[in-house]
Amino acid sequence: MGEVILTMKNIDKSFPGVHALDHVDFELKRGEVHALMGENGAGKSTLMKVLTGIYTKDSGTITYEGREVEFHNTHDAQAAGIVIVHQELNMVGDLTVAQNIFIGREFKKGFMIDDRKMIQESKKLFDELHINIDPKAKMSDLTVGKQQMCEIAKAISHQAKVIIFDEPSAALTEKEIEDLFAIIRDLRKQNLGIIYISHRMDEIKVITDRVTVMRDGAYVGTLITDECTKEDIINMMVGRVIYEDPKTHSMVPADAPVVLKVEHLNAGKMVQDVSFELRKGEILGFSGLMGAGRTETARALFGADPKTGGDIYINGKKVTINSPEDAVKNGIGYLSEDRKRFGIVVQKTITENSTLATLPKYMSGLFINKSAEKEVTERYIKELDTKTPSADQLVVNLSGGNQQKVVIAKWLVRNCDILIFDEPTRGIDVGAKNEIYKLMNRLAAEGKSIIMISSEMTEILRMSDRIIVMCEGKKTGEISIEEATQEAIMDKATRDIK
């Protein structure tokens, strides 16, 4: 670690009704990877937005390379060498890699764009980073991991001195994460300052030098990563101990009936001959790497994507599911990994979302019975402990964890017995995660059957009664929780990958 490159002191920022940042301090040194942690709504992104000029601070000082600065927009910040690699990639799929990296500042030859030079420069960048990507490839043909590498290359090409990674690993496979870490270590060696925002505790331990924790818009403290434990960090984030150990044995009674049987399910390349059973009260974990075909299996089962073959039995009876409508009629509910896109209608109220799948039940004649609708919504707000001032609140104003609860409520209102949770805690902070876990356990104990797709090993081991592992569209293993270890799962998850 070198000298301090960036100091933020006493940063204060309020929005109408919210004190988003309460005199926050932050310091970054050259050649350091500094984790910024905190639950959703803790103020991490707000702090970064103040730094990069998206928001204007109310008070406080930012010192960068020895002088006080204030950026008015991201362009200013970029010009000074502070760049963000966003969680959602900002790439134009139809352009090439090189065109994307130099978008907005293309090299020119006369009035024509000099594509050749852009390709050369991209190559140089990739060589520096030791990554192997063809600058002429179309962006949309690359994997998410590779796209992110391009985003990083783009950041570096701005002569960056400080790079902010906002949850960079959310969409990456284990292998891609390793590559990412190699690049980050490289950047550290080149004396860049790196801010790393993530929810994943394991990564923090592996890649970062220091950790700054925020809670409710306030600075809690800074630790040296090597000198603290996971529990120390979590305690600082939530102010209470919540870490739980893996499940050791199945909670499903030995005589629990099979509620769902899937035989030889086929749907394109991503779902090949997948068969499995789900029992009453069971949490069946689906593990595997990104792109293993788990979500595709769930969508095919749910009728959201067409299948090319396979039989589905519910409570021993063969059923036909060709659309989500059929699936819902058969008591299956699906909670998408991408809530905002597939799960909720963000600009509508909690009530409207809660009854979206059940509206026929809340009709008196031709008309919607709004008081009955509200009553059931309020009941589930209470039961699931959803934090909201009222049932009329727009879902967009809720936190990730509470939005997830609204989706759960939607299916509980529908009285679905089989629930498919696809990445149930993605983008949800540690405290709320725990609540979702408790809720899932409670639902299973009440006799609901749950399919849980998760890319987080700790989540799989903590929640599942039984684990199915997939790799490249095929089921490669089935492990009881008693026998499950991280190694055993990873072994099966990478079985078919050369």
Partner: protein, 322 residues
Amino acid sequence: MTKKKSIFTQEVIVGIVLVALYFIFRTISSDFGKYTTFLSMMDISYYYALMAIGVAFPLITGGVDLSIGTGMICYALAGGCLIRFYNVPTGLAMLVSILFGLGIGLANGVLISVMGLPPFLATLCTCMITRGLGSVVTGSFAIPWPTAKQDNGWFHSIFKITLADKTKLPLGLVWIILLMLIMQFVLAHTRFGRYTIAIGSNKEAAILSGINVKFYHIMVYAVSGLFAGLASIAYAAVIKTVQPGTGAGMELDAIGGAIVGGVSASGGYGTIYGTVIGAYVILFLKQGLPYIGFNANMQQIITGFVLIGAVTIDIIKRKVIK
């Protein structure tokens, strides 16, 4: 964080603008203030308002229906032909016009919802088709509907009645208000309405909630077609002779009205009362500006700017919510 709902919604603002416009025009032009002017303006307003009510539904789903203008003419021509050439009773001919509209609306719905054509393209095609079809059924002749004085011209009294003392009353306004209230109720209080909004806000989420989105998406365009059919009757009652090949561009006034009245141009939000008020604002500009010395070209330019203003409000509103 509950936000207090401001009473100054776009609908209220546009309502105030509407009243203000009327009085401004009246003050400047004494002709505009005449009762006969008011009457003839109301006559013209009915078919615009009906088209606007209908097209609000596709707009709220994030789609559009470009076929309502030429469609309306086509349905009016078809009905008129039946009366003129086949001695079909007026009531039956009216029913045919309306059902014709419904049919084209259903066809739009199938093209968009089942076959997956973009709404813009699908309804552009039916716009061309109805325009040509109108000429084909009439052999390119203009078709007059019965006049009010003729026996089978009773349908005029749906829109305008003459009292014993010879005063005429714009009865159509009552129907517009009634239909507006009914469709607003449909939008806010029925399954169809709720799903219309859900499709506009997040179609994927609606599908994954197990809603038969395909069916409701078709129905949205059916409603639009149905109202174009109703509009064709109002049109026939005002325009003495229906000309084939006309109607293109009228849909834009109706769509503009809905947008001015607060229907979100990107879907997910809108009200029917706002739509009707917006349609009248557009109509007042169209009819009123010439009275205060603006020619037709100026009037179009001004209408364009009013639309920009309305859409800007919508965009700002969305930013504030985010």
